[in-house]
Symmetry: D2
Subunit: 381 residues, 4 copies
């Protein structure tokens, strides 16, 4: 794999590298790690890359890698830059014959998302979007149980993602990565709702198997001087009649990274907390609450088991969830390269369609979130 | 105390009796326990009342008690009938010179609530409303901390009350008390949002010290054939700029009685779960999360300490929270009788004003909850 | 009921009164509340007793109550004095025709325990010992499941009771009730192991249905100047081959009242924490962990249900557990008075036999706990 | 790195590889993965090794790697075979100039442990022992707090490691790795107490900074036909007067991998659960309980922060704890190679001395655990 972005001053690039490397399926072979050439060079060096593949620009990387012989050049590009650059990097890589992994949100605008899908269809290449939280084994097990009808028809979905790190003007701290996240020029139309609200919605749709169809949102920038929302809430309606609520906040003082979902059907419900991700709680109308645990024999779904690495009681964390996306993506890339039909469980990673849903969600949230009169907004197209 | 309602076939009457009696401040001296005369009689007998004070009707009870000498007649009446009867019973008692305790919701309609307040003002009598959940010591401590400014200005309030017991048509079960709760003739305009949503809103306003000013709600009757809402959600706006979300559901399959609140301010936030009521969690931007526990020396508020009975680690429960309302009410009744000025901490129980807020909340919820166009509704007056 | 001890300066007496009164089965009719006559008098007055039954001494109380007509005199005596007085008070009451409730530990010495049993057998009267923790509904359900063989043969029992309140010399605080508890003249041979270790052992034997047969203990007084143990641990062996560990500490800094038990059998195990007493966790070799909750339909045991007051999700606490002992005791006392055969579930309260086990446990613990050579001590007889 | 053991039929080898690779500091360059040549070959192939470095025997690997030029040959050998082979593999590697990582328990016998230390001293090479649980950031923070004196003098240590997977004769399952663990010829003198009791003792000594000096143990093989202990408990005494209890069980039915420690000092105490490893609970005599979380700014210890990879709320798991040992070891190996003095925080991984303590613990446990008369055994030398 090659990487664009992810220099030693960034957070998420390091996570991508750990996740990609840990399963001994992927090597980091080249990169262009920063727009700052010194950071780029020193980062690549610290990642043990030879100078010849520690590139100064994305364009140089794509050109030189393309020229390398099969088996030696990078197989895919991992894009971990700020949002604004995602689309152009992905376009260049895909059209040059490389598969791509993109950090979310997928693009800067909804139009770019549609364009990206068209490029993927035209080039026939593979793309993964790192909506990490659906990589957790317990989330996959939850999805399997809903799909299996264990809870009956789904009625109610409550999903929330609470953080407190933007309770004050963290963006004034020059070494914080709050800067670009709160800057509309780099982040797009939405702040909190785009940064973490998208994860919450993606998780809700992934587990429930239902698409949200309309929303009534209220977005707020609580911290004075902030240009994008730092808090949002929305009433939701889903296909088939289910209703829901989504909460996303970065001013929930003292909260770390509390992504938390509950889904209720006619017969029972489930609950999952990202911060204790190896526990899935099942509640029932007529029998005791059950605690399902990653890695034990209590998982019903083969997909859940397939995505666990260690026996029950040995906690799997965020990096392992991330690695599940990379591992499945790598399996599919290799299968396509080798002319093998991917197994269904390998295809279980977020794709361009999840990215489009995410951009549509941001669009709808922003339309509704500052509206004072009209109650319901249909999902943006 | 006398009691109307609360026969041996009812749930909440028994709780009222335990709560009233446990502190050795109140005796049950008379009652009229059911509209079914046999149930009424046998109930009173099983509560060890003499036949002479085991009455057949409220009217009889009020008349005969009034005729008893001072010190012998009941001091106050506890009203634990279905909602529809609350107002007339309270009116009769108050105008006959008795103080009253009323189970919530206070009245059947908002107009009755206003009328009740007028009667209280005219008679100068004392009334308590059993919004039980504000009786918990940890809730009182939470309120004291917010009032003290510990968290800075409040920004966000998330309150929810999730139950699952009405996931199917429990109201068809003749021995269930779901019957009257889901019947508009007995319960009023609202189902779930009136039965438990009112508790959630009362708790939010009690702890935060802020009044809700407008709402955008979505109410649903998920179970086929049900005549009143069994689920609701609302976006909230509070005075001073705080925002919030309220969830109430009786179709959250598998949930017991999960009243749960989080409040976030500029500097920190708090979390409290009714089902583990002796723990109050405080989160902070700049220091570790703290666990405050009932009965230990970690309570800041004198009111919290005053309402705890046993040392830390000896759990206090629902009946004790209930008993705190009765105990404080009894202190005030006795003080007024004896011409003593009640201490401020004695006055800490829900009153007619809480009841009016509750009825206004039901009114606003119902207005907004079935509306498809208009987004925000100002709080009903 | 009458009460000896439990003046307004004591803690446990107030709990006894709440517990006795809350179910409307028992009234406080007389008492002798302190050896300090002023405290005794003012206490009785504040409990609304007439001067005529607010006694100055136990002897006076017994004598005058005996002289009252049937139906008017107290039915039983509740003994909540320091340990050293328990036996003589119980003896006098029993031999005068009154049933008794005794706060634990039952007596000052093992010999007194045997003597008390003899007196009970001779007089045919009824006695309850307030080993409160077996009064919790979830504990009763746990016992029923073990007895039902759900877990297979029991192999391992781990019980602990951790407090931190004696981490420093609390006994030097004159208003603390640490004074008599750490004084061998008032408490007996043991400190912590007698005060709370007895509860832990009682709980282990109650749930498991197994008797401990031998122990290897290590007792310590960690705080300088303390005369009795403030910490203990023991390896245990039970009849039938089960093994166990008991921990009791009053120097576990920061712990409140953490009585906590786990029992493992061939097929599964259970876990219960007194500080969150409405949850019983069941673990299994071959199925998911189950959460059983007080008041819901998940209780297997009729006895568990019978001892719960409110529906699931409305927490029951320490006073309710206490009240279950009083309520069952009162039912038995009334049944015997009325010539009715008590139902089996009424007989579910701790008796003189539990008290004897407790005194034997103290004896064995002290024998073993300071021994350096011999490993195992058979249970004292 | 090269690896001996860890073929595709083994569990722990895969964890070692994930842990070693994830930080992009270590590559797998060669191995001899099984004594079964087919498994060995196919495993190496599946790990992308060239045939030339996919060896048939340890001897071949050592010989051929030694012959490779500097910078190309493996830097160190990871030994993940059954216990019985550890010593001979380590000896050969060390004496051939390779550093080693050894899975615990370090050796088969205590004598081998001493011999290994002598070899290390003679060769001057570096060794790490994968006592994984001390790799967790929260454990390192706990150790720092104890060392800092936050809790005052330590009085009490309670450590336990509960598993249920050997509740029946799992060793009869041919594909289970219970086989060699319950076989004295492959595992040594101890079963459960060696397999997991050693982890518990290592954790207790690591966090407390205190050495255990004597023990009184009770070991049991509960499952019929089992040749080694599957359950153990011990009373402990530590230098400086602290006391403790250790529990280890593999028949605690339904338990997954519950390593759990509490340490109490004069002023406060701490609690950590391996199954939720990102939370460290601190309790205090005079202030509220505090929750310290991995990756947040609440960590006091630099070493704790240094060993965390992701921000607070993004859970780190077992593999990350494991990786901390590999990463620190790799830093030290590289530093020694490059003539740099390792930083103190790099040296924070378990060494031969921890391995010797572990073998001494097994020796002492077995001496005491089947003894019926003598109470205390001094720590084996």
């Amino acid at each position: 794999m090659g990487m664009v972005g992810g220099g030693s001053d960034a957070f998420i690039g390091a996570v991508h590298r750990c996740a990609a490397l840990m399963d001994n399926q992927i090597e980091l072979v080249c990169g262009c790690f920063s727009i700052n050439p010194e950071v780029a060079y020193s980062s690549g060096k610290s990642y043990y890359l030879p100078d010849s593949r520690n590139y100064k620009s994305l364009e140089e990387m794509i050109e030189k890698e393309k020229a390398l012989p099969d088996g030696e050049r990078m197989d895919f590009l991992s894009i971990v830059t700020p949002n604004v650059v995602h689309f152009q990097a992905a376009k260049l890589a895909l059209e040059s014959g490389f598969d791509v992994v993109i950090e979310k949100p997928m693009t800067f605008s909804l139009q770019e998302a549609y364009d990206l899908k068209a490029i993927l269809e035209k080039t026939g290449r593979t793309m993964a979007l790192t909506h990490t939280y659906t990589g957790y084994p317990a989330v996959k097990d939850a999805r399997a149980r809903v799909a299996n009808g264990d809870f009956g028809k789904i009625r109610k979905i409550v999903v929330e993602y609470m953080q407190g790190w933007l309770s004050s003007r963290e963006e004034l701290n020059p070494i914080s990565n709050a800067g670009w996240r709160t800057d509309p020029k780099k982040s797009g139309k939405a702040g909190c709702i785009g940064d973490i609200g998208t994860h919450a919605m993606n998780l809700a749709e992934y587990i429930s198997g239902l698409k949200c169809t309309s929303m009534c949102a209220d977005l707020t920038a609580f911290v004075e001087g902030r240009m994008l929302d730092d808090d949002g809430a929305a009433l939701l309606r889903f296909e088939g009649g289910a209703k829901g609520v989504l909460l996303a906040s970065q001013i929930a003082a003292g909260e770390e990274n509390s992504l938390f979902i509950r889904i209720y059907g006619e017969k029972g419900g489930l609950e999952w907390h990202q911060m204790e991700p190896n526990t899935l709680t099942l509640r029932w109308n007529t029998k005791p609450t059950e605690i399902i645990r990653t890695g034990t024999n209590t998982f019903m779904g083969e997909t859940g088991k397939f995505n666990a690495r260690v026996p029950g009681g040995h906690p799997e964390g965020y990096i392992e969830a991330f690695a599940n996306i990379y591992r499945n993506f790598a399996r599919v890339v290799a299968a396509k390269r080798d002319g093998i039909t991917p197994k269904p469980e390998w295809l279980d990673f977020p794709t361009v369609d999840d990215g489009i849903r995410g951009m549509q969600f941001i669009e709808t949230s922003v339309q509704s979130g500052y509206e004072n009169d009209k109650k319901w907004f249909d999902w943006a197209k």
